[in-house]
């Protein structure tokens, strides 16, 4: 019911929702409960976001097989709540696992925009970090960060599935530190984490 033009119902439900919302807000504010709920709910939602990171079922090149191996039975990524979905609307992590060519540049940006906030991007493997062995090629962009803001870099060609699961672990640490907030509300200056440099 976002635009007025679409609003066929005579009785404007939004007016009801607004009034109810304002009154409860005022009541909570007065009783100081708003603070309590805000902090506790923040922790619960942060826990929820950390514990269920759905990466997109997108396989570009060899790192896609390591992603599949990470999802299979030996290195079970599902132990940590990583469940591969194939529609960008239902994912919150874009796992880029191969070289981004000129032809795939704008589809991957479109995929990134289709994902609802709060969303993160993991650049997995050399090709996604800096174009990898194809950095000289006429058709390969040098890294995903030329088109998408990247949060976690996982070096390796291809990185072992344990490194990928460690990458998700690092992403969870980042979420617990800076909170599961949409990208525009994030305090910038949080440098992207590179596995293995600490």
């Amino acid at each position: 019911m976002s635009e007025d033009g679409q609003n066929y119902t005579m009785f404007s439900s939004r007016m009801l929702v607004d009034t109810v919302g304002d009154t409860t807000d005022a009541a909570l504010e007065a009783s100081g409960l708003r603070e309590v709920i805000g902090v506790l709910a923040g922790r619960i939602f942060n826990w929820g976001q950390r514990k269920s990171l759905f990466p997109l079922h997108l396989g570009i090149k060899c790192c896609a097989l390591e992603m599949a191996a990470a999802g299979a039975s030996r290195f079970d990524a599902e132990r940590f709540g990583v469940f591969f979905r194939s529609s960008p609307r239902q994912c919150d992590v874009l796992l880029v696992n191969g070289p981004i060519t000129k032809k795939f540049a704008d589809p991957i940006v479109r995929l990134w925009e289709q994902m609802p906030e709060p969303k993160w991007c993991i650049a997995m493997g050399e090709c996604a970090i800096s174009g990898g062995p194809y950095f000289q090629s006429y058709n390969v962009l040098e890294g995903v960060d030329t088109v998408i803001p990247v949060d976690i870099y996982i070096p390796g060609c291809p990185p072992r599935p344990e490194a990928l699961i460690d990458g998700f672990g690092k992403l969870r640490e980042k979420i617990i530190r800076i909170g599961a907030v949409p990208s525009h509300a994030r305090t910038d200056g949080v440098a992207p984490i590179i596995i293995g440099d600490e």
């Binding site: 599949a68 191996a69 194809y134």
Partner: protein, 378 residues
């Protein structure tokens, strides 16, 4: 419903990799298809013109990432043809072990990806579990899990490590029993039979004319296998026969292509077991890296005007390399590297095979041709 074009876009669970299949659909039946490749074209042929002969093996590993060893060996045979090197007998046996183990791993990756195409996730996890066994063996040879950089011009980087033969025999025997599990899940499930039998017919003579090769061709009853028709390495020393499927008159369907690959997995396992027994000097002896028994001296320059080519039986079809000598650095780098990718030729034919079937059959048919887009886009 009026006919409409659906584009099964670059990111789609049906495509094993990044390519688009534009499908013209009338209701549920497919009327016309048009593949659109090039989403991971990274100009490997151009880059290889600025690399010397040993560095190119790493690029050929990363061509088709599901079967890295077969591709680096295809390149190495062409490079040896160009540089004119005589490979020692023991190195040929070690290479055969590496290539056949990689073929099993590649077919397992295909079977794992084919399960979810038809709707069953358990197969994927089982196949990847077995593939881990094969990758452990290849990791002992090459050092890393997926891209091994194992062959050198004139031989192999290292001999079989200590105890490799014993572990390989044990794992392969376990694998030969595990295949029964997949067959139980596939062959005895009526749903799989009605989804794959009679779907995606491909006539043998059409396939030859369209350049389709490998398991997809042998599924139609055509006995054409590069390992026997143009023998290389030591395949002629071992006793085996290519797996050929007896398909129906209308051609090979998805079920035949599934059967042929399960047959090939058994066959590759037996080939490796035979090779380990027949290894000259015994599989348990160990030679230091660079020992002339496993690595012959090879010139590092190819003068202008020389050329080398070699056909190779990759797990997806006939792969081939053509190298023209005389590149930069007075011939240290090839002047031109040309790569034949079997799937680059099979995809247009496979997409024509889908016409007349239902939208739900597209992943079943496309999956049964085992596309690997890394090698298609080069």
């Amino acid at each position: 419903m009026a006919e409409m074009w659906i584009s099964m876009g670059p990111q789609h669970p049906m495509t094993h990799g990044l390519w688009t299949l534009k499908v013209k659909v009338d209701g549920e039946t497919v009327v016309d298809t048009e593949p659109d490749l090039g989403y991971i074209h990274r100009g490997v042929e151009k880059i290889c013109e600025a690399r010397n002969f040993t560095q190119i093996t790493t690029y050929c590993d990363r061509l088709c990432y599901a079967s890295a060893n077969t591709w680096s060996h295809a390149y190495i045979y062409a490079a040896e043809d160009l540089l004119g090197v005589e490979v020692p007998e023991r190195a040929e046996y070690i290479r055969l072990v590496a290539v056949e183990l990689q073929r099993i791993a590649s077919h397992l990756m295909w079977l794992g990806a084919y399960g979810p195409d038809i709707g069953n996730l358990t197969v994927m996890v089982w196949c990847l579990r077995e593939r881990e066994m094969m990758m452990d063996l290849l990791q002992e040879l090459g050092g890393s899990r997926m891209h091994y950089n194992f062959p050198r011009v004139g031989g192999v980087k290292r001999d079989l490590p200590h105890g490799f033969a014993m572990r390989a025999r044990h794992k392969l025997r376990l694998f030969l029993d595990r295949i029964q599990e997949y067959e139980a899940l596939f062959d005895e499930s009526t749903i799989f039979l009605i989804r794959s039998q009679g779907v995606g017919y491909a006539k043998p003579e059409e396939m030859i004319n369209h350049g389709v090769s490998g398991p997809n061709l042998r599924a139609g009853g055509v006995n054409h296998d590069i390992r026997t028709s143009h023998p290389y390495s030591v395949y002629s020393e071992l006793d085996w026969a290519p797996a050929v499927e007896r398909s129906s008159i209308k051609g090979a369907d998805c079920y035949d292509r599934y059967r042929i690959r399960v047959e090939e997995m058994r066959q590759s396992a037996n080939l490796v077991l035979q090779a380990l027994d027949k290894m000259p000097g015994g599989a348990e002896t160990y030679h230091e890296p660079g020992d002339p028994k496993i690595l012959a001296k090879a010139p590092s320059r190819a003068p202008e005007g020389t050329s080398g080519s070699h056909h190779f039986e990759d797990s997806r079809g006939e792969s081939m390399f053509y190298l023209a000598g005389g590149g930069e650095g007075r011939g240290k780098m090839p002047y031109r590297v040309s790569i034949r990718s079997p799937i680059f030729i099979t995809i247009p034919y496979a997409s024509k095979c889908m016409i007349g079937y239902k939208v739900a059959d597209i992943p079943a048919i496309m999956g049964s041709f085992d596309p690997c887009i890394g090698e298609t886009d080069r």
